[in-house]
Point group: C2
Chain length 344, copies 2
């Protein structure tokens, strides 16, 4: 007999080796916990914002009157591009130097237009900068982590739409886990875990949120966050800089459509953390790798009520209430073309 997905069950994440517990019946639960007031819509320019064009940043730097995407070194970087590689080998107190650098990427001069509200051409420019940063920093660092924290709920410290790049000599825990599982899949089953996933998900359709000729956005079978999505290329590609021009165009389109659905779902600027994983640099064999992006949005029931990954989740394993199939259906049922704020 097959597992009954309408009853509590666990799903395995073949990309990380993790598990998620699914409790479909639990959405009935009343909520008396924390509710968050969504932020009001901000103006197009804020003289206090240290990311807006022409403003002075903390310290002394002044932002240029930039026009498209603006990249600069983080004034308060978590990593420093200095120091010698050292390590301590005590099995109980093992440590090593972490060298790297952190950059900030303002998506546009506009203080309040997040990705879904920018024209596709502006998103296309963001893609271009992501690829160029990966290319440049990949010459010197093993891992180039591109990500965006969107919304105060996701720890974003400035509402001006921006992403970040943290480049590190080491590969990082998540990338190492994915590397191991991607490699193993290739050894055991042949082929590529993520290309096979894209193909089978596209055929089945029930977890598909958006698709075009080159790209596919799904709520993965093993999604932990309520509306988590995985953005997959439908062709073999290990790293962002390899994308052809037309594939960058289609990527910009699907990013616009996916984030528009997100905003439309609860008629709010949908918070999330998103980021890219591609083949680490300095790895001799990367045939098992495939470029992809994860979107981790916290909202569960409305613009005010989020999912908390707390006690059980931190101590045992992630738990979700609504099934990934239902989440995909909900995201498909709202518009991917018309943003709710653009309605009269």
């Amino acid at each position: 007999m097959a597992v009954d997905f309408s009853k509590p069950h666990r799903r395995f994440n073949p990309l990380t080796g993790g598990w998620v517990q699914v409790s479909p019946h639990r959405l009935e639960r009343p909520w008396q916990g924390e509710e968050t007031e969504p932020a009001p819509v901000a103006p197009s320019y804020d003289p206090q914002c240290y990311l807006c064009p022409g403003n002075t940043r903390k310290g002394v730097a002044v932002n240029p009157e930039y026009d498209g995407v603006h990249v600069f070194d983080n004034d308060f970087p978590a990593l420093l591009d200095e120091g010698h590689a050292e390590s301590n080998h005590d099995p109980l107190f093992r440590a090593e130097t972490a060298r790297g650098l952190c950059r900030v990427l303002c998506f546009s001069p506009h203080h309040s237009k997040t990705l879904p509200e920018l024209p596709v051409s502006a998103i296309r420019e963001v893609v271009e900068v992501w690829a160029a940063q990966t290319q440049e920093l990949g010459q010197r660092f093993g891992n180039v982590q591109i990500f965006e924290n969107k919304g105060a709920m996701m720890g974003c410290s400035n509402p001006h739409p921006h992403g970040q790049v943290w480049a590190t000599e080491h590969w990082g825990l998540e990338v190492s886990r994915e590397d191991q599982h991607l490699r193993q899949y290739r050894e055991w089953h042949g082929g590529s875990l993520l290309l096979d996933t894209a193909e089978r998900e596209f055929e089945q359709g029930e977890r598909v949120v958006e698709a075009n000729a080159d790209w596919l956005a799904i709520v993965p079978f093993w999604a932990a966050w309520p509306f988590e999505t995985l953005l997959l290329p439908r062709f073999k590609v290990e790293r962002m800089p390899q994308l052809a021009s037309s594939q960058r165009d289609s990527l910009a389109s699907i990013l616009k459509a996916l984030t528009t659905r997100y905003d439309n779902l609860f008629q709010t600027s949908f918070p999330y953390s998103m980021g890219w994983h591609g083949a680490p640099f300095g790895m001799p064999d990367i045939a098992h790798w495939q470029l992809h992006a994860h979107f981790y949005p916290p909202l569960l029931r409305s613009a005010a009520v989020r999912k908390f990954m707390v006690g059980y989740e931190m101590l045992a394993e992630p738990q979700r209430d609504l099934t990934p199939e239902r989440a995909a259906e909900m995201l498909r049922s709202v518009s991917g073309t018309v943003h709710y704020r653009s309605l009269p």
Copy 2:
């Protein structure tokens, strides 16, 4: 040369195989992000609370006029004690039935007294119930996860102080990871990872927060959350029910002292998720296991400013700003005996 802990570095977590990135210089960073208003102090009884004695819970059940700890089955359980064990083996879509049950444990009839504000004798009763629940449910389930989500920030849906027990047939991801690393340590180094840790941390002292003859609370070398602590027995014990009466007494004392320090640090009811890990049930050889509790508190700089584990943390690896050594020092510098609310 040894790793310079005043500069960015990574530390290895030998219990889970994870890593954490430490950026000690980054505490200078200004914060313009989310700030949370702490909840006001609640009354001792709330007629609307579905955990207070004598009140009607969602549905039909009525709470007894209970006196000490009150345990009941969760009205909206994430797990159900029914269904047959099934599994799907497709490598991309692997799943299995998850059978289990969920209980709620009100710490006391008082609607607003959290652990540090209860007398040691009342905490001793909580320990007693934790042990009894583990004993009872361990007869039928592989993992008995005891935990507490404290505070709205940690997804607690009702301010009446309470913990939970989720018992599952499967062991859960975190327990499986710890099992693997505890076992490996024993094979490679002999002895017990956590007993060795307790001994060396007690000797070194710099990460110790509280200690008595039986127990030790430390900010572990590899702590990810700013004020994360690990509560360790200083004697060999695999599971909670094995604790002798005097060891339960000393456990109640150290719990009171540790949580008092937490509340005193930012003069607020300190939010956290905490929970116990012990040897899973149905495991033939548990010699490598050692009972312990994790405390994961989110606050970073004040009662209003928390650490967010978001973009980089979700996509690459956990990152922290203040060193574990500094966090331990800060916790040691406040009182472990007098709670700030009891001051005149």
